[in-house]
């Protein structure tokens, strides 16, 4: 690929910014989970760009893709447990809107 590395890092940064934005703006707890997935994808892209920056044709750098695999695994775990929490929450409160789940706040 002949695209310079900076473009890849820039793309990952914009994707991360979109994820942060969704995390703070949306008020549905499932949407918050989806925004976290966006941010994890951006982190994956950054890992791969860093690995590309430090690898040569003779000796490819493997730590980037391996970290990306671990990030994907943690994302799967997070989605599973997060969805279970949302389901348990819905069973108790009949809502998943974060605006109405404020017992621990104020």
């Amino acid at each position: 690929m002949t695209v310079p590395n900076e473009h890849l890092l820039f793309l990952a940064a914009i994707l991360f910014a979109i994820g942060v934005c969704g995390f703070f703006v949306r008020r549905n707890s499932i949407m918050v989970l989806l925004s976290v997935e966006l941010m994890l994808n951006a982190a994956n892209l950054t890992f791969l760009a860093g690995s590309r920056m430090h690898s040569t044709a003779a000796r490819p750098e493997l730590s980037g893709p391996i970290f990306a695999i671990f990030v994907i695994l943690v994302a799967a775990v997070e989605a599973g447990v997060g969805l279970a929490l949302v389901i348990a929450l819905f069973r108790r409160k009949q809502t998943v809107s974060l605006d109405q789940l404020n017992e621990l706040g104020d």
């Binding site: 695209v3 979109i18 949407m31 989806l34 892209l45 493997l62 389901i87 348990a88």
Partner: protein, 205 residues
């Protein structure tokens, strides 16, 4: 502006953004630049639609575009095994899980009220300005060098996982984490025995 016009304007802007990215990539870096523009606009467009759409089903499906775009970028970078894992786990697993969770949530029609959207626009512009300032300070655009592709094969990744001086401890810990998460998800989301008794008394299940 009513809702339908908003949607049409949004999708038109996305389409033109994708075409512009592809054209710019084709002009600067040839066919691979065009592919990068295509996948990048897929990724960013899916992400924008994900936080724009009010119904969670639409958000989840537009997130599929993001995941597929990121998988395409992985292929473009030479990591074909990662791209397969991305599609299998994200699109096949996480997205299906989320679509299952979507059954619980009605569409939130008050989601896109003006103060919240204004806050979002301010957040996006602030974040992009921050990122742009950082990048412009660091990157020397005239000398942006092209790098060789860092290709990985599945054998290399597997060997790195299982070598004693590699990532074998992290690999085993990942297995433990998956098991714990599986048990925890079942334990959190199960019906309590009292719920079951109530249901049988009411004649359900």
């Amino acid at each position: 502006m009513d809702l339908r016009k908003q949607q049409i304007a949004f999708y038109t802007a996305l389409l033109f953004g994708a075409l512009a990215a592809m054209g710019w990539g084709l002009k600067t870096a040839g066919i691979q630049g065009a592919m990068f523009g295509f996948f990048a606009s897929f990724t960013l467009g899916g992400g924008l639609m994900c936080i724009w759409e009010r119904s969670v089903v639409r958000s989840a499906f537009s997130l599929m575009a993001t995941f597929c775009g990121v998988a395409g970028l992985f292929i473009l970078l030479g990591h074909d095994f990662l791209a397969m894992a991305q599609i299998l786990i994200y699109v096949g697993g996480i997205l299906v899980l989320i679509l299952f969770g979507v059954m619980l949530t009605p569409p939130d029609l008050n989601e896109r009220q003006l103060p919240r959207v204004g806050l979002g626009v301010v957040a996006v512009v602030g974040a992009l300005a921050f990122v742009g300032a950082k990048v412009a300070a660091v990157v020397n655009w005239a000398q942006a060098e092209t790098l060789p592709p860092a290709e990985t094969k599945a054998e290399q990744i597997g060997a790195a996982f299982l070598r004693a001086d590699g990532y074998v401890i992290a690999f085993e810990l990942a297995a433990v984490l998956l098991t714990v998460a599986l048990v925890a998800a079942v334990y959190i989301a199960r019906r309590k025995p009292s719920d079951l008794i109530d249901l049988t008394e009411e004649g359900g299940y």
